[in-house]
Amino acid sequence: MSSRRSRSRQSGSSGISDDQIIDLVSKLQQLLPEIRNRRSDKVSAAKVLQETCSYIRSLHREVDDLSERLSELLANSDSDQAAVIRNLLMQ
């Protein structure tokens, strides 16, 4: 944890250039489905961050729903079937 603090102090003073940040933001932008479909290069960083937050939240929700479904399916079916699927996947 102390190493993390020293690292943040380092980047706060210097080290991270604006270009690097712009590069990271554009990489993030490529992943977002919304902005990718709109195909505009003039997306502000704030918009990218907002889309990222909402996208992560929606992904979390999807994982929650899927895990609910999986738990119900697993509770109903037998453990042998899970083993069968596991063998199928391993191949």
Partner: protein, 232 residues
């Protein structure tokens, strides 16, 4: 780039005791700098291949198999005690945690959020005693704690406060990045989004397979009243 952020750089910025072997130390310095440049280039290319590693099918299979193993273990353990009582709510959270753990494990510890997820499980089980363990574990382990414990941002110079606020929110969403500086959060978010997409893909495939198997199974009633109709 990520490797230089994570691992401490052994750059001899101030070498006090090299008065004697000056030439040798200079050679060592240049050699180390060249190696560092090479490592950076390699890390960059690795970064590019890392972003596609979450899309590979092998990665998905690794995740699915580890998830299935964890689920089978947890069900065998909780089968005797829990039974079918906590089918919807409790069971779903256990699956979500197993999925997160499998996801973090398949990251091989190369990203901060995966290490935070894996570390958080052990810490939570040790320290959080009896204060609603299920809710605490789910909230903290998922990194989405809504408690107002965000440290005041002391980073200056990186733009408007609106951007800063959004970066803080993003840092809270990604597990383990609540106090990291901006570029770290952006990088972790990139990796985390791809990993989440892989998780969604793998779990939906699993659900499809299981629902298919269950329907052709020995007449098990898979139509509980709370189950959503399979949309595929």
């Amino acid at each position: 780039m990520s490797s230089s952020l994570i691992s401490p750089n052994p750059i001899p910025t101030s070498s006090p005791a090299t008065a004697g072997g000056g030439d040798r130390s200079r050679e060592a310095k240049t050699r180390r700098r060249k190696k560092k440049a090479q490592a950076q280039a390699q890390a960059q290319s690795k970064g590019r291949s890392q972003s596609s590693k979450w899309k590979s099918h092998a990665q998905q299979q690794i995740f699915s198999s580890s998830l299935l193993q964890a689920l089978a273990q947890s069900r065998r353990g909780a089968g005797g005690g829990g039974g079918g009582g906590g089918g919807g709510g409790g069971g779903g959270r256990a699956v979500r945690e197993a999925a997160d753990r499998a996801l973090a494990a398949s990251a091989k510890g190369r990203s901060r959020w995966s290490r935070a997820i894996l570390a958080g499980r052990i810490r939570i089980s040790k320290f959080r005693k009896r204060k609603r363990p299920a809710a605490a574990v789910a909230a903290a382990a998922a990194g989405r704690s809504r408690k107002p414990r965000v440290s005041v941002s002391r980073l200056r110079g990186k733009g408007m406060p609106a951007v800063q606020r959004k970066v803080r929110v993003l840092g809270r969403l990604v597990p383990g990045c609540r106090k990291e500086p901006l570029p770290v959060i952006l990088e972790e978010a990139t990796d985390y989004i791809e990993a989440l997409e892989m998780q969604v893909r793998a779990m939906s495939e699993l659900a499809r397979l299981l629902s298919g198997v269950a329907s052709t199974g020995a007449g098990t009633s898979s139509d509980s009243p709370a189950a959503p109709p399979p949309s595929q």
